[in-house]
């Protein structure tokens, strides 16, 4: 597959703050690529820079292989849906959607047909004769999406398209995006702070934090093999537990020791390497991977104290004191342990979730 967009070492500073820090990634033809990260991670700056509305300090942007340095926004072949919508207030719904078509020189029946087609797709036919100030939030969003997709573009960029909408519209529009992507075969760069949205929509995800891309991968990779503490804790609700642990051995049988539990260490060669380096280690455990039981057993050997329970309907989240650390565990709502008090826990250590606590990155 060829890359529609290649971003290489993009860096931009505002005053002293680094908005973009050597960001590099590429989006393949027809791919839905998601950038997810907390507010102020630099996501909007990244999109505006790709669109040519802001100038990078360092790095380059290529769209279909063509270097974008000095190329005006209108000549880049990208479309962008702004986070704040930015519909033209003095123009009707029709004119807003028709805007990119008119500037591309389309007129008459062709233009009319295309606008109607887009309006039908987004169910905004009733808004065509009205001004944006009369639209509701969801309607504004849909018309703005219409404007973004009406013209032809190599890459459609969407900046938090579902934020600030109520839950019902959000889910409906999420499905619409997925359909749009499938039906139009459009390459998309989708920015959101909502990890659930990112996980459910994308082919690939880049997790962004403080202007730099922490990890790029499929939703599956990001969830199961995060590279560092930030990614591990940002993706997944509740976030991954990271327990401090030490290495030890007894009669040549290596184990992981932490306050509250002791686990056999599954791989001998790695064990000796690690022990020689003397790193401080952390062990990542997803709350979903915690085993919980009301009694001690071979699967649940560690005693702990449940001190807070959050019932969420489809699941319950337990806050557990395990030795000196506090962890979260997720159980089904009909699980025997759904009340505060003593319980028993277990989990399997996964080597790929072993972290060097100093650099906060997982060992590979």
């Amino acid at each position: 597959m060829t890359a529609v967009l290649q971003v290489i070492g993009l860096t931009k500073r505002f005053e002293e703050v680094r908005a973009l820090d050597a960001a590099s990634f590429s989006v393949a033809e027809g791919e839905l690529f998601c950038i997810v990260g907390p507010t102020n991670a630099g996501k909007s700056t990244l999109l505006k820079t790709i669109a040519g509305l802001q100038r990078p300090e360092l790095g380059s942007i290529r769209i279909r292989g063509r270097d974008m340095a000095g190329v005006q926004p209108k000549d880049r072949g990208v479309s962008l849906l702004f986070q704040n919508i930015a519909l033209f207030p003095t123009q009707s719904g029709f004119e807003n959607i028709a805007f990119p078509l008119r500037t591309a020189g389309q007129t008459g029946a062709d233009l009319e047909r295309r606008v109607r087609e887009v309006a039908a797709l987004l169910k905004v036919e009733h808004l065509l004769d009205r001004l944006p100030k009369t639209f509701s939030g969801g309607e504004q969003q849909r018309v703005a999406i219409g404007r973004a997709i009406a013209g032809e573009s190599d890459l459609l960029m969407l900046d938090e398209p579902l934020t600030n909408l109520d839950a019902r519209i959000r889910i409906a529009l999420r499905i619409e995006f997925k359909k749009l992507h499938r039906e139009l075969g459009q390459s998309m760069l989708y920015v959101t702070h909502d990890q659930v949205e990112a996980m459910s929509l994308s082919d690939r995800i880049a997790v962004m934090h403080q202007g730099s891309l922490q990890q790029i991968g499929t939703p599956d990779e990001i969830y199961h093999q995060p590279v560092n503490r930030f990614v591990a804790r940002f993706i997944g609700t509740p976030p991954m537990n990271i327990l401090e642990a030490e290495l030890g051995s007894e009669a040549d049988r290596p184990f992981l020791l932490a306050s509250g539990f002791r686990l056999p260490f599954p791989q001998a060669r790695m064990f000796s390497e690690l022990r020689d380096k003397g790193q401080k280690l952390g062990l990542g455990v997803r709350p979903e991977a915690m085993r919980v039981a009301p009694t001690e057993g071979p699967e649940t050997p560690f005693a702990g104290e449940v001190f807070w329970v959050e019932h969420l309907g489809s699941k319950s989240v337990l806050d557990v004191r395990l030795g000196e650390s506090t962890v979260k565990a997720v159980v089904a709502p009909d699980h025997p342990v759904t009340r505060e008090g003593r319980a028993w826990f277990g989990f399997d250590p996964q080597l790929r979730l072993l972290m060097d606590l100093e650099s906060e990155t997982f060992l590979r």
């Binding site: 005006q72 209108k74 962008l80 704040n84 033209f88 600030n164």
Partner: protein
């Protein structure tokens, strides 16, 4: 309002009436005086509304023969400039004020755009602009006289237009800047992504939104220019005569200031401002309404 006590309502209305009387009295006095015959101009006790209304003062303003007749009837003589028609001063003021306003607003809009969108000159630049505005004109007027005479700009339309434009430009930039700041950069960004260059995006998207602000700025500047006296006095010497200079010229050797004639000219010269204000009033009232931006 309806829940107010009666005495409070009376008090409020009285305050409104009083402030209106204070505001409108000068205009009333101007018009009233302009209709008075010669011997009632400076009477004591004052004559509020004359019993013998006359248009003689207006005739003196607009018809040279009437001015000469009047001068002959008086013992003193009118200044030679006054014995001419005031039409020329209206024409001069109109040319100078209109063009200076036009240039000030056009350059002001472009400069304000640059300051807002490109941070031209850095964060403090707009404040530096404003200090030019705070500068008392009297302080620069003498060097300007020297400069203007060297550059052969004294007593020309161009010279006064230049001076007015320069002196109102900071105000223009400052005002229009605040209107442009209210328009999110994303609106222009959207136009640029969807096929327009930056300048065209500004003209088609932003300018219609700030039109009201630009027009009200233009009105303010036009009033400043129209009523400007100091520059007009020192930078001209007879070829170019603005209305403010012409009003000051109505002086006779024997009877001092010709109040009635000055009032007649004053009454007429407020008309263009009222007319201009009336024409753009629709835009002044309507604020910037955005239906498209989520804040």
């Amino acid at each position: 309002m309806s829940s107010d006590k009666p005495w409070l309502v009376v008090l409020k209305r009285s305050a409104v009436i009083l402030s209106m009387v204070i505001a409108f009295f000068p205009i009333f006095w101007l018009v009233s005086t302009s209709l008075k015959p010669f011997d009632e101009w400076a009477n004591w006790p004052p004559i509020w509304i004359t019993d013998r209304p006359t248009l003689q003062n207006y005739r003196i303003v607009f018809f040279p023969e009437a001015a000469r007749e009047f001068a002959a009837a008086q013992e003193g003589s009118l200044d030679y400039k006054v014995s001419g028609s005031a039409w020329k001063s209206f024409q001069d003021s109109a040319i100078i004020s209109t063009l200076a306003t036009f240039f000030s607003v056009v350059f002001g809009t472009l400069a304000a755009y640059s300051v807002v969108r490109f941070r031209t000159g850095g964060e403090n630049y707009p404040f530096q602009f404003l200090t030019v505005r705070m500068f008392p004109p009297i302080a620069v007027v003498v060097p300007m006289v020297a400069m203007f005479s060297v550059l052969k700009l004294s007593d020309t339309y161009f010279g006064l237009i230049l001076a007015y434009t320069a002196f109102t430009l900071p105000f223009s930039i400052w005002m229009i800047r605040s209107f442009i700041e209210d328009v999110p950069a994303e609106l222009e960004g959207a136009a640029m992504i969807h096929g327009m260059g930056q300048f065209k995006a500004f003209l088609t998207v932003t300018l219609p939104l700030i039109r009201g602000g630009v027009l009200s700025t233009a009105l303010f500047i036009f009033i400043l220019n129209w009523s400007e006296f100091l520059f007009a006095l020192v930078l001209t010497s007879g070829d170019v005569v603005t209305i403010t200079i012409q009003v000051a010229n109505y002086v006779s050797a024997s009877s001092g200031k010709l109040y009635g004639v000055q009032a007649a000219m004053g009454s007429v010269s407020t008309l263009p401002v009222i007319l201009f204000g009336y024409i753009i009033q629709r835009h002044l009232v309507r604020g910037l309404t955005f239906g498209a931006i989520k804040r």
